[in-house]
C-alpha cells in the first residue's frame, strides 16, 4: 500500500489539489446565486496589489502633469484661442438645447413622468485591471470608505463604463459593459427600440433582443433605457456599428461603446441618484440672442419711424419686436403668461391647450402666425420651433435675428407691454408669472 502511495504520490496530490479547487468553485457558484459578499481573501489579494498600482499611477500622473503644465506648453496659446471659440459656439448650442430640454421637462412634468437624476457623481481614477484577456474589469481608487457601494453605475463624460461589482475599503472592482457577463438595459435613440447591451468574449458590445423585422441603421446612437435599475435613463451606451441578421428572430447589432473602454483613466461613480419629477426651469434663461448681442458692437438706436415702417402683414410681429428690443423671444409662451397678456394669451392657460399646442408644433419658418395680429397669437406663442429669422422680420439688426434660436418667437412677448426702441443690446425680460402650470 505504501509503495502504491509513494509511486503515485505526485498524481494523488495533483488530484487532491484539483479536487479542493473544484469544491471551492462549486461552493462559490452555489453562493453566487444568493447575495454574494466580498470575501476576505479577495480583499487581501487586492490590498496586496493595489498599493503599488496607486503609487505608480500617482508617480505617472505627477510626472506627466509636471511636464505638460510647466515645460511642454507649445501650441497652448493657439489651443486656448480655439477652445474659446469652441466655448462660444457651444454656449449658443447649449441655449438652443436648453430650450428643447426645458420644453421636454415641462411636458414630462405635465404628464407626471418620473425620471432618474444623477445627484452625486464621485470622480475616481482607474488604477488597474483584472489582468485577464477573458474578463473586462477595472480597479478604481475609490471604495467603501468613499461611499461606493455594489451595483453603482460608473460613467465617463463619453458614456457608461460599467457597474461596481465588488467593493473594498479603498478600491472597487468595476465590471465593464463589454464583459461577457454584463448586461445593460438599452434603447435606440431614434426608434426607441429597447434591448439588452451585452459584452462578448472578444470584448465587443452587442445589442440583443431587437426583432429582425425592425429597421436599425448603422450610426444610430444607443442609450441606456434605465430598465436595469443601475444606469439612469438616457446615458450614451454607444453607436451602432454593424447590423446583421442574428439567431432566431433577432438582429445581431454590434455597438461601438461611447466611452473608450480600453483607455480609461478617470471615471465617475454615480453614488447617488434620485427619482423625481423633472421640474421645468423658471425664467432667467440666457438666450442665444443675448449671447450674440453681447458679442456684437452696439448699434445706435433707430428712429421710431424706421421701426414703425414694417410691412402691414407683420405689423403685430413688428410691434412685438419693438417690445422685445429687437430681439427674438424664446419660447416663453409655452409657459402661459397671465396678467400681462392679452385675451389670446390667456386663452392658452389650460394644461390641455399647452400640451396640444406644444406637441402639434407648426412648421419652422411659419412667420405668418406670429404675433397677436395674426389672430393666432397664442398658438404662435406656443410654437417651440418657429424660426426666429422668419418670425422677426422687423427685428433689428438682421444679423441678430438670423442667428437667433429656433425657439425664438416675437409673439411670445405680451402685446400690451410698453414699446421700447429697437436695439441689439440685451434687455432684461420680465419673468413669466406662471412658468409651470403645475
Amino acid at each position: 500500500m505504501e509503495s502504491v502511495l509513494g509511486r503515485y504520490r505526485n498524481l494523488i496530490i495533483l488530484v487532491g489539489v484539483l479536487f479542493l479547487q473544484v469544491l471551492g468553485l462549486a461552493v462559490q457558484v452555489k453562493r453566487s446565486a444568493d447575495a454574494e459578499n466580498t470575501r476576505l481573501i479577495r480583499i487581501w489579494a487586492v490590498d496586496l496589489v493595489t498599493p503599488f498600482e496607486r503609487g505608480l499611477v500617482w508617480a505617472q500622473n505627477g510626472s506627466s502633469d509636471l511636464w505638460h503644465n510647466y515645460f511642454f506648453l507649445r501650441g497652448v496659446r493657439a489651443e486656448n484661442r480655439q477652445l474659446k471659440k469652441q466655448i462660444e459656439e457651444m454656449r449658443l448650442q447649449e441655449v438652443r438645447m436648453s430650450e428643447d430640454a426645458a420644453q421636454a421637462q415641462r411636458l414630462q412634468s405635465l404628464l407626471a413622468f418620473r425620471e432618474q437624476f444623477i445627484v452625486k457623481p464621485l470622480p475616481a481614477q482607474v488604477i488597474g485591471s483584472s489582468g485577464s484577456d477573458l474578463s473586462r474589469s477595472i480597479y478604481i481608487d475609490k471604495g467603501s470608505n468613499d461611499g461606493v457601494a455594489q451595483d453603482m453605475a460608473v460613467i465617463t463624460s463619453g458614456g457608461i463604463v460599467g457597474k461596481v461589482l465588488r467593493v473594498y475599503p479603498s478600491t472597487s472592482l468595476v465590471l465593464m459593459i463589454n464583459d461577457q457577463s454584463s448586461g445593460v438595459g438599452a434603447m435606440l435613440e431614434k426608434s426607441r427600440l429597447q434591448g439588452v447591451a451585452r459584452g462578448t468574449p472578444n470584448g465587443e458590445l452587442i445589442l440583443e433582443r431587437v426583432m429582425s423585422d425592425e429597421q436599425v441603421a448603422a450610426g444610430e446612437t444607443v442609450l441606456s433605457s434605465g430598465g436595469d435599475q443601475i444606469f439612469p435613463k438616457g446615458l450614451p451606451v454607444g453607436v451602432v456599428s454593424k447590423v446583421s441578421p442574428g439567431k432566431e428572430m433577432f438582429l445581431s447589432i454590434k455597438v461601438k461603446p461611447a466611452a473608450d473602454l480600453s483607455r480609461l483613466e478617470e471615471v465617475l461613480v454615480v453614488t447617488e441618484k434620485q427619482e423625481r419629477q423633472p421640474v421645468a426651469e423658471n425664467g432667467d434663461r440666457v438666450r442665444a440672442a443675448d449671447i450674440l448681442a453681447q458679442r456684437l458692437p452696439s448699434v445706435p438706436e433707430k428712429p421710431a419711424a424706421v421701426a414703425g415702417a414694417a410691412p402691414a402683414g407683420t405689423a403685430a410681429s413688428g410691434a412685438a419686436a419693438q417690445n422685445s428690443g429687437g430681439k427674438p423671444q424664446p419660447n416663453v409662451a409655452a409657459k402661459p403668461l397671465t396678467g400681462t397678456g392679452t385675451g389670446t394669451a390667456n386663452a392658452t392657460g389650460t394644461t390641455v391647450d399647452v400640451l396640444k399646442k406644444v406637441v402639434h408644433k407648426p412648421a419652422a419658418g411659419d412667420g405668418t402666425n406670429a404675433g397677436p395680429g395674426s389672430g393666432g397669437g397664442s398658438g404662435a406663442a406656443l410654437s417651440p420651433v418657429s424660426a426666429g429669422s422668419d418670425a422677426t422680420p422687423n427685428s433689428a439688426p438682421g444679423s441678430v435675428a438670423k442667428s437667433a434660436p429656433k425657439s425664438a418667437n416675437p409673439a411670445a412677448k405680451s402685446a400690451t407691454a410698453p414699446p421700447k426702441p429697437s436695439s441689439p443690446q440685451p434687455t432684461p425680460q420680465p419673468p413669466a408669472t406662471e412658468d409651470n402650470p403645475h
Binding site: L25, V49, E53, G131, S137, L165, D179
Partner: protein, 172 residues
C-alpha cells in the same frame, strides 16, 4: 535539437531564494493587472502563466510545480471578477505537466522553451475554458486563431523572459 530526452541524473535541478520565489510571481501578477490599462495589447500576454512554467521547469518537481501554479492561479482569480479557482485549476495542471516534462526533457534552450510555452499556453486555455464553461457556466467562445496568436506571442515573450529569469537560478 530543441528538445532532447535526458536521463534524470543529467538534468540540473535549480532552486530559488525566497525573495525571488515570492517576488517574481507577485511582480508578474502586478504587471498583468497594471499594464493592460496603459498598453491594451499587453492583455494577450499571461505573465503569471509564464512564471508558473518557468519555475516548474526549473525546479523539476511536480509537487512544487503544481503548488506554485495553484498559488499563482488563485491569486490571479482573486483579482478578477469571476469565482476563485478557474485560473487556479488551469495553472495547477500546467505547473504539474511542466515540471513533469522538465524531469524528462532538457528545456534550457530557446527553441525548446518556445515550443513548450506554445504547447502549455494552449493546454492552459483548454483547461480554463473547460472549467469556466463546465463548472461556472460562463459563455466563453473558443477561437483557434485568437488562441494560437496569443500562444505565439506568449512563447516569444517567454524566450526573453526566461533568459532574464535564468539569472536568479541557483544550483542545488
Amino acid at each position: 535539437m530543441p528538445i532532447t530526452y535526458t536521463s534524470g541524473e543529467q538534468i540540473e535541478v535549480y532552486r530559488f531564494n525566497i525573495p525571488v520565489t515570492v517576488g517574481v510571481p507577485l511582480l508578474a501578477l502586478f504587471l498583468q493587472a497594471f499594464l493592460p490599462r496603459r498598453l491594451p495589447f499587453f492583455s494577450v500576454f499571461d505573465l503569471p502563466l509564464l512564471v508558473t512554467i518557468f519555475f516548474a521547469m526549473a525546479r523539476r518537481n511536480p509537487i512544487s510545480g503544481l503548488l506554485t501554479g495553484a498559488a499563482i492561479g488563485l491569486v490571479q482569480d482573486m483579482l478578477g471578477p469571476y469565482p476563485i479557482g478557474i485560473y487556479g485549476i488551469a495553472k495547477t495542471v500546467v505547473g504539474y505537466l511542466a515540471s513533469s516534462l522538465g524531469v524528462k526533457l532538457d528545456v534550457e534552450n530557446a527553441g525548446s522553451r518556445f515550443l513548450v510555452v506554445l504547447f502549455f499556453y494552449v493546454v492552459h486555455e483548454i483547461v480554463y475554458f473547460t472549467v469556466a464553461r463546465g463548472l461556472v457556466g460562463l459563455t466563453l467562445q473558443w477561437s483557434w486563431p485568437r488562441e494560437l496568436g496569443s500562444a505565439l506571442a506568449n512563447a516569444l515573450l517567454a524566450v526573453a523572459l526566461f533568459a532574464l529569469l535564468d539569472r536568479f537560478k541557483q544550483r542545488t
